[in-house]
């Protein structure tokens, strides 16, 4: 598919890894979690929603963010874990709104349960931040069909970088796809609308591959 815009640049596919940093901020019970959420660095909030996906896991994640997982595993509060897990960061364009929502849900639970369980040593919630380290995969593509071919074998780091991290910050893939004009608009919209929150990275890779495949099969017909 030729680009409508003659000046379209090639697209470099990246890979990434994250390097974690301790913030020194901890919570041993729900009240402390609420207190720390009031002031914790916004990058730490994003970390606890998204970085989980880059960690290897043996089971389907029961809950979609670290706050919910900790509440379930260490405070044994299933009700709160479900409420926290339902908070979808993709629904909040402003990180401060996401912070407020988290605090609201935690405070509701504090009102309902006056007693607060203290976790054992080593089971506190540790607020973490991370730096992303970006690598060049040496895959350079000049049209969307080429990405369709590469997608099934892209590393999970590449999937994280282009369909989660970049999506939060600049949405580089959608921006590039949109340069191909109306013919790919359907594809751009589908990728842009794709909500990665409820998928593991392997599932997300399959989902994105399906979108590309479905789109181009439709175009051929």
């Amino acid at each position: 598919m030729p680009p409508k815009n003659e000046n379209i640049q090639t697209f470099n596919i990246k890979d990434c890894a994250i390097l974690n940093m301790a913030t020194g901020v901890r919570a041993k019970n729900l009240k402390e979690l609420r207190d720390q959420l009031l002031t914790i660095h916004p990058e730490s909030i994003l970390y606890h929603f998204w970085a989980k996906k880059l960690r290897s896991s043996f089971e389907e994640p029961e809950y979609n963010n670290d706050f919910a997982s900790w509440t379930y595993s260490n405070l044994h509060d299933i009700k709160l874990a479900e409420r926290l897990s339902l908070i979808n960061p993709g629904m909040f364009s402003d990180i401060e709104d996401l912070r407020r929502k988290l605090i609201e849900v935690v405070e509701l639970s504090l009102e309902e349960n006056k007693s607060s369980i203290n976790t054992k040593e080593g089971e506190q919630f540790q607020f973490i931040r991370s730096e992303i380290v970006v690598f060049d995969t040496k895959h350079t593509i000049s049209k969307p069909e080429e990405l369709m071919e590469l997608l099934p074998n892209l590393s999970l780091g590449s999937i994280y970088f282009h369909f989660i991290d970049s999506k939060i910050r600049s949405d580089d893939i959608s921006s590039w796809l949109s340069l191909f004009g109306d013919e790919d608009k359907g594809l751009t919209q589908q990728i842009s609308k794709l909500d990665p929150y409820f998928f593991t990275l392997s599932e997300l890779r399959i989902k994105v591959s399906q979108i590309f495949k479905g789109y181009f099969e439709g175009v051929k017909k």
Partner: protein, 408 residues
């Protein structure tokens, strides 16, 4: 790509090596120095033994320096080690003086190398004062804490933090271990080298000969703990777990395989206690192995049915990673870095008591399929998380970030 890098790529994947090459390209020719306090024995020495050649292979001019001291210095640093792990020990002025003087003497020798280096990693507390003793340093200095410092004895941490606070950054294995410090604290777990004698594949004949060498019965189950004779490793708790298991699995054999590190003066005393607890039970095999017995440990881990690391405190526990790499589920103390590796009910079991350990040993011995499946998961978990390539990638990332911060 060199043969060595090819070998890593075969185990860890091409991407892992490619990432290392990308990160090391801007550091080519830079002088990088690691400093610790022992060249043999213990996890730090084992890591450096393999990481330094890999860094050189990647084009980074890397050296490994070791500080040395007299008895008083090691008494002091062992007490500090115990204090960082929570023991309320008092360290006399006399010992602290030995600590400071030893560092000062070592600094006199190492100063030209360290002040000229572009990047320095100081491992653990023994050489921590070197930074303040190198006032004309030009490079980035990072302090690496390998031990479980989650609840350090405050007077000792306050003393040490005066030396640690001026580093450009520090790194710990877990967030629980991080302290209040005026610089960024990164989280980088250690790793094993899959190509080392300790972890490489062995010939079946080499494995088989281990039974004879240590008078072990190949037809009966073997439980193993590999660790220094150190109270925090709880060898007496392992013997208790063995004795409890023996009541229902009389054929069980226990191997305690350890050695000493040159910076650990308490080892002999603990070994005596272990021998007393074992008594004359012919099925308890207490081995005192030399520091270079890597292939022996490798084979022992492979012939064992179950591996334990029942530590009471553990910075990380490389023996856990090693056993998992050999497809063995690990029954580990519910503490420190063991929690990072033993994913309860997946790669092994976390236990708090000898009774808990005995329960899980019996459970696994009675269900060979489960034992095998857990071992398979354990190996994959190590491949994805705890190989040298990931470890070095994170260290190089750390220094890249520090360099970028300096430029902005």
């Amino acid at each position: 790509m060199s043969d060595l890098l090819h070998a890593y790529a075969r185990v860890a994947g091409n991407d892992a090596v490619d990432h290392l090459q990308q990160l090391s390209a801007p550091l080519k020719g830079a002088k990088f120095v690691h400093v610790n306090s022992t060249r043999v024995g213990g996890g730090v020495a084992e890591i450096l033994m393999k990481m330094v050649p890999l860094m050189n292979e990647l084009g980074i001019d890397t050296s490994w320096e070791v500080i040395s001291g007299e008895d008083k210095f090691y008494q002091c640093t062992k007490s500090m080690h115990n204090a960082l792990q929570g023991d309320p020990v008092h360290i006399s002025e006399d010992l602290l003086k030995a600590y400071e003087e030893t560092n000062s003497k070592n600094a006199d020798i190492l100063r030209p190398i360290l002040e000229d280096a572009d990047y320095v990693i100081i491992h653990d507390l023994q050489p921590a004062p070197l930074l303040t003793l190198c006032p004309n340093r030009k490079g980035k200095w990072v302090w690496r804490c390998h031990i479980d410092a989650s609840k350090p004895h405050p007077p000792v941490w306050n003393y040490l933090s005066q030396y640690v606070k001026d580093y450009d950054a520090s790194f710990f294995s877990l967030a629980d271990f991080a302290q209040q410090l005026p610089h960024t604290q990164y989280l980088i777990p250690p790793s094993i080298d899959p190509l080392s004698d300790k972890n490489m594949d062995l010939d079946q004949t080499e494995i088989e000969s281990t039974y004879e060498e240590f008078d072990l019965d190949r037809k009966r189950p073997i439980m193993l703990q590999v660790s220094r004779y150190d109270r925090f490793k709880d060898p007496l708790g392992v013997i208790d777990a063995y004795k409890l298991t023996k009541q229902s699995v009389p054929e069980i054999q226990l191997v305690l395989a350890g050695g000493g590190a040159t910076d650990d003066p308490e080892g002999e005393e603990v070994l005596r206690e272990v021998r007393d607890a074992a008594g004359d039970d012919p099925d308890i095999h207490i081995l005192l192995l030399p520091p270079d017995a890597h292939k022996t440990i490798n084979a022992l881990q492979r012939i064992s049915d179950i591996v334990l690391q029942k530590s009471l405190k553990e910075g990380f526990g490389l023996t856990v990673t090693e056993a998992m790499w050999k497809g063995k589920p690990v029954i580990g103390g519910n503490t420190g870095g063991i929690r990072l590796q033993v994913i309860n009910h997946h790669t092994g079991f976390l236990v708090d008591t000898p009774e808990g350990a005995a329960l899980r040993i019996q459970q696994l011995l009675s269900d060979p399929e489960k034992l095998k499946e857990m071992g398979r998961k354990a190996k994959e978990y190590v491949r994805n998380n705890f190989l040298m390539t990931r470890h070095l990638r994170e260290i190089l990332s750390l220094f890249t970030i520090l360099d970028n911060q300096s430029k902005t």
